[in-house]
Amino acid sequence: MNPKDLRYDKEHEWVKVDGEVAVLGISDFAQDQLGEVVYVDLPAVGDELVAGESFGEIESVKSVSELFSPISGEIVEVNEALGDAPETVNEDPYGDGWMVKVKMGDASELDALMSADEYEAFVAEEA
């Protein structure tokens, strides 16, 4: 199930807030739809994210999906471990499969995101 303490967006990304810093990843539903993840292309530390814009790509064997950022801010850490083990995104999407940590520019952007319950309703409708 989708953790209750996270916020979700319609692109199936999740955000976990820890003070000024937000952790970003993709949802369990998203990883399941993609199939086995074979490559994750992430930005570099120091890059600026803009809410709603692409910040990277995630690939399965026969698909490429863009990663859209739910929030704006500056990248402070990138999950380098995904380089060698991209399948971690499948195995632990809400834990070790996180992608980037962002120093948030505008915390009010979080208000537009869904709760776990809202996200589940959204997914049920999409499927």
Binding site: E36, V38, Y39, E59, S60, V61, K62, P86, E87
Partner: protein
């Protein structure tokens, strides 16, 4: 599937792991001239360490590749209903023709008077393709379909530029082949996608909304990738021309309309033709093909050079059109492929070419009717040379995906149809039988498809692991990407 394609087949070691280090196949004759000091004549750039090439005798080569051939499926192995690929039989007379010493041994820079046969053949092929397409000016230079698309779009771009007309976008329907948008990007344009309507054609309202004087061209496949003839083609091309844009026809599906309709008569300004689809030249496991481009007189002067012209004295000469976009390839084109296509056209003649389209369309409609009900039709209309089923019902009701059913077909000795394309149909299964399959083969395919549909209901789990009888089974494609092993390296 023939017996040797069965699972018992022993996989062959790599050719590098075959033979002994002192094995040789071809020996070089002794030099009848003075030897040279390689390092000094090459200015010191002689090779220090020899490349790792195989060391095998001729019999080992013969057996190695005979084995590889035995685990490969071609049109000669069986039915190959790969939608949009037109996997028809490759007549052997065409193979004989391209190997004739007068063709195979000709050098592209020989004086024209010594290659009149080759140039005459090319001229004849240009003429024939011009007549078949209704677009009279032809370049045979592009090496493949995607190369032809690019060439045509470059010519369209040059036409606009020559008119001082700067345009930025190209319109493509959502059912298009992936090469179309990739070609647009390579040509420096951006893609505007228009949706399909409920009948599988271009949504006219969406097209009208997308059209303005910023549009350089539309790229349309007709019949489209759903196997449906574009009903509003004249109106579409009229609208396109109204804003000063040009219309390009992706000729992937020309087989359906040979002798029955011509893109030039539909208002298209340019098209490419896949000789390796419509004109029976073999696909070769992925090439070589040839993608000639046919255009209107207005675009003729922009074609890549050289094209072949006939002089008043009846001789043939390569000439470069006056405002040519330039070359898109070395030399004159994939000549060996052109010889095959020309031979094929001569064999069939006007009537035979029309028969091709008639049988291709009849066979596709026959399969469609026989599979109707068991599988869902994406669009229930009379199709042209191919049609698209959807495996969505099987997925939803039994959890069996189109991929599983495609893999199960391998156990039935059939090459699967194109799957998951076009992208606008869920769980798409795109079937193109071509005209060169007998009724027995078509019925055998139907039997296999019906048997698989029954298996989906009875034992869906079994399908997830298909195929069972092929030389290898499902391969770990994720591992192939994550730990790429793209070349053999000798042990250190």
């Amino acid at each position: 599937m023939s017996e040797h394609m069965k699972r018992e087949a022993v996989l062959r070691p790599l050719i590098f792991e075959t033979g002994s280090p002192e094995s040789r196949c071809i020996e070089s004759p002794a030099l009848d001239i003075p030897d040279v000091d390689i390092s000094s004549v090459l200015g010191g750039f002689a090779r220090a360490q020899q490349p790792h090439l195989p060391h095998v005798t001729e019999v080992e080569i013969a057996r190695h590749y005979e084995h590889l051939a035995s685990v490969n499926f071609g049109v000669d192995s069986g039915f190959y209903p790969l939608g949009s690929c037109t996997m028809k039989y490759n007549p052997r007379i065409d193979e004989w023709a391209c190997r004739l010493p007068g063709f195979a041994g000709a050098h592209p820079y020989q004086p024209a008077e010594t290659v009149q046969g080759a140039l005459g053949l090319m001229w004849g092929l240009q003429e024939a393709l011009g007549e078949i397409s209704g677009l009279p000016a032809v370049s045979l230079q592009p090496a493949a379909g995607a190369h032809g698309e690019l060439t045509a779009l470059m010519a369209i771009r040059a036409y606009h530029v020559a008119n001082g007309d700067v345009r930025a976008r190209v319109i493509i329907p959502d059912s298009a082949h992936g090469t179309n948008p990739a070609t647009v990007a390579m040509c420096g344009y951006s893609v505007t996608q228009v949706p399909s309507n409920e009948r599988g054609g271009v949504d006219l309202e969406a097209l009208k909304a997308a059209l303005d004087t910023d549009v350089a061209a539309i790229m349309l496949t007709n019949p489209n990738t759903l196997g449906l003839f574009e009903e509003n083609i004249s109106e579409i091309n009229r609208l396109v021309h109204e804003v000063g844009a040009l219309a390009f026809c992706d000729g992937a599906n020309l087989n359906a309309i040979l002798g029955r309709a011509r893109p030039g008569d539909m208002g298209f300004d340019a098209m490419h033709i896949n000789l390796h689809k419509t004109f029976a030249t073999p696909h070769g496991g992925g090439g070589p093909g040839a993608g000639p481009v046919c255009v209107t007189e207005a675009l003729a002067e922009f074609l890549p050079g050289p094209v072949i012209a006939r002089d008043s004295d009846g001789s043939f000469m390569p000439v470069t059109p006056s405002r040519s976009i330039g070359r898109v390839k070395s030399f004159l084109g994939n000549f060996g492929v052109l010889v095959r296509a020309y031979t094929y056209i001569c064999a069939l003649g006007a009537e035979g070419i029309r028969d091709v389209a008639e049988q291709a369309v009849l066979s596709a409609n026959y399969l469609k009717e026989r599979l109707r009900g068991t599988y869902d039709l994406a669009y229930d209309r009379t199709c042209m040379h191919e049609f698209v089923l959807s495996g969505e019902r099987q997925r939803k009701q039994h959890g069996v995906r189109t991929l599983d059913m495609a893999k199960r077909l391998l156990d039935h000795g059939v090459h699967p149809p194109t799957v998951y394309f076009p992208l606008i149909v869920h769980e798409a299964i795109m079937i193109e039988p071509t005209e060169t399959e007998s009724l027995e083969v078509l019925d055998g395919f139907v039997d296999a498809m019906l048997a698989i549909a029954a298996e989906v209901e009875a034992d869906p789990e079994m399908l997830h692991a298909a195929p069972y009888t092929t030389p290898v089974r499902r391969l770990d494609e994720a591992a192939a990407v994550k730990q790429p092993d793209l070349a053999w390296k000798p042990a250190e």
